[in-house]
């Protein structure tokens, strides 16, 4: 079939086509307006979520920072406390050494002199029964000292705390290993009194 002239639409058909085109255009415009509105809504929603998320993140970061700062402060305080404790221990050991040296220089040292007794008893955390009769000769003092060594107990408690042990678990080990019945002082110094 050879190409001919375009079909001659009737007036009614042309009007119908124009009307259809207008309606389609209106539908598309309406759809575009609706889509634009949806996009605007979505963008608004996203902005709100973003703002909310940022605020939440900021709050969380602030809280974490505060907690971290608190923890660091607490650790610093504990470190200072431990250092002071170690210095006191060092000083008392030096004093004890000096006393022992002095005692050895004496021509006839009396057995169980009061200062020597104090030296032996000093590291112990358990109360000494003063009403008890004079004790038998002490076992080797170094070995005995380890049983209630407060520095050892503190290190044990600190290491257990670092490894995540609870206050009760540490207290139990201090009781079984060091015969420390009331460990609150040590535990408060390391964990703080809040966990009691």
């Amino acid at each position: 079939m050879s190409p001919g002239r375009p079909k001659d639409f009737s007036k009614k058909q042309r009007e119908l086509r124009a009307d259809t085109a207008k309606r389609l255009e209106a539908i598309v415009e309406a759809a575009e307006r609706a889509a634009a509105s949806v996009i605007d809504d979505a963008e608004g929603e996203a902005r709100r979520y973003l703002t909310q998320a940022r605020e939440d993140a900021d709050r969380l970061a602030d809280r974490r920072s505060a907690e971290l700062a608190e923890t660091v402060d607490s650790l610093v305080v504990q470190a200072i406390s431990l250092r002071h404790e170690a210095e006191r221990l060092q000083a008392s050991l030096e004093a004890a050494k000096a006393r022992i040296a002095g005692a050895e220089d004496l021509p006839a040292p009396a057995p169980a002199e009061r200062p020597l007794e104090e030296l032996r008893e000093a590291p112990r955390l358990r109360a000494v029964d003063t009403a008890a009769p004079a004790p038998a000769p002490d076992p080797p003092p170094q070995v005995e000292a380890t049983r209630a060594d407060p520095a050892g107990a503190r290190l044990l408690a600190a290491q257990m705390a670092v490894s995540g042990s609870s206050r009760e678990e540490i207290a139990q080990r201090l009781r079984s290993g060091f015969e420390i019945e009331d460990a609150d002082a040590i535990l408060d110094a390391i964990l703080g009194p809040e966990g009691r």
Binding site: V143, L155, Q159, S163, G177
Partner: protein, 403 residues
């Protein structure tokens, strides 16, 4: 499936072993082919509850998905380049290990005994710097530190094998837990005291706090190093990442291996800052050690184990396990800490026979002494697994008690 990967079954594997492997092991008659969590399967499909974990190696359970993923990913990226170059997984793991223990520095090895060799070198060189010409290392009798010659010489129970002699000079031992003997043995020539905080191979014997304090003090008096062999006790086994964290002392050097790689061979010697600078280029080395795959596996293990929730679980479940065991007829005592438990059987019960019977019943345990079962279950088990294991042990022991 190629000839090399064809499943051959128990009988053929045993025949090949008989023909080709050196006779260094007495193996139990089981051919394990698969593991998942706390469970193992043999070639015939029988299922076992594993309370040994390859001697405290698979502490996170068999084929833990995170370990498998780490090994899989790293082995597709880079397997080996040697220690002539930097590799990221090794650097990251060194940081993680040092920061979670003594600070200082790490030397990686391929096994526990090699980690101890490194520690021995550090101790001797440290002593030479103090002017000690013939340094000595002091251990407890029944310590186990490994089977290479340095570690073997520090393992009194094995060092007496004259057929393998002579051992290295410069090692001595004192009775286990004897604080006074330890103090007496440590002198100006002492380079180090090398001990297990809980003796594992000997049958799970925790060293007392008195003896540990004595060791620390004796070392401090002469300037020697205190070395803790935490190859079995470390990586969460006792309920803290390191066993020393539950003792009143802090060692100068810690050695680690076994559970560190989750089944992948790796060891580490970790030195505190005061001992970390002792070894210098040329003093020590290893071709394979610290390889990317092993260190990636270890990093995955630490991600799992270095978790306060899991460590608390280990402590609580360990206490539960021991309480239940101690209620059994035929159990005289339990020893240990966390999920490292020795079960002392009542007089006359043959632990080897009980161990073999338990294997038949589907529970894998170890027998380090004629009177002791050693339990080293995965750290990730729950109380149901403990109940099952204790039921099986109870039934087995009861059978031998009645005989």
């Amino acid at each position: 499936m190629t000839e090399a990967t064809r499943e051959i079954g128990f009988e053929e594997a045993r025949e090949l072993e008989e023909r080709y492997l050196m006779r260094t092991y007495k193996r139990a008659p089981v051919d394990f082919v698969r593991g998942e969590g706390p469970l193992l399967w043999d070639a015939e499909g029988k299922r076992y509850l594993d309370f040994l974990t390859g001697i405290s190696v698979c502490s996170v359970g068999h084929c833990h998905p995170q370990v498998v993923k780490a090994v899989h990913e790293q082995s597709h990226r880079l397997i080996h380049v040697s220690n002539l170059f930097y590799t990221e997984p090794m650097a990251r793991l060194a940081e993680r290990l040092a920061e979670s223990s003594l600070g200082g520095r790490v030397f990686f090895s391929n096994s526990g005994t090699e980690a101890n060799e490194c520690a021995i070198k550090i101790a001797r060189k440290h002593a030479h710097r103090r002017g000690v010409a013939a340094p000595e290392i002091v251990s407890f009798e029944s310590d186990f530190h490994g089977r290479t010659y340095g570690a073997l010489s520090a393992t009194p129970g094995l060092a007496t094998n004259e057929a393998l002699g002579p051992m290295l000079p410069g090692f001595r031992s004192v009775p286990r837990d004897d604080a006074a003997a330890l103090r007496a043995a440590v002198g100006e020539n002492t380079a180090a005291v090398l001990i297990e905080p809980i003796q594992g191979e000997a049958g799970v014997f925790p060293i007392s706090e008195e003896a540990l304090l004595a060791a620390r003090e004796a070392c401090d008096e002469v300037g020697a190093l205190l070395i803790f062999d935490e190859i079995q006790t470390g990586i969460g086994r006792t309920g803290s990442l390191w066993a020393y964290e539950q003792t009143p002392v802090r060692p100068d050097v810690v050695t680690s291996a076994k559970a560190l790689g989750g089944g992948f061979p790796i060891g580490a010697c970790i030195a505190a800052p005061e001992a970390a600078e002792v070894l210098e280029p040329g003093d020590h080395g290893s071709t394979f050690a610290g390889g990317p795959v092993a260190t990636a596996a270890a990093m995955a293990v630490l991600e799992i184990v270095d978790d306060p929730v899991l460590l608390r679980h280990v402590r609580e479940l360990g206490a539960y396990l021991r309480e239940k065991l101690e209620a059994l007829e035929g159990v005289a005592e339990t020893r240990g800490r966390g999920l490292m438990v020795g079960v002392g059987l009542a007089g006359g019960i043959d632990a080897a026979a009980v161990g073999a019977d338990l294997l038949e019943r589907g529970l894998v345990v170890n027998v380090p002494r004629p009177d002791t079962l050693r339990l080293l279950p995965p750290l990730v088990i729950d109380s149901d697994h403990v109940d099952l294991a204790v039921d099986l042990i109870g039934e087995s022991v009861l059978g031998f008690t009645a005989r």
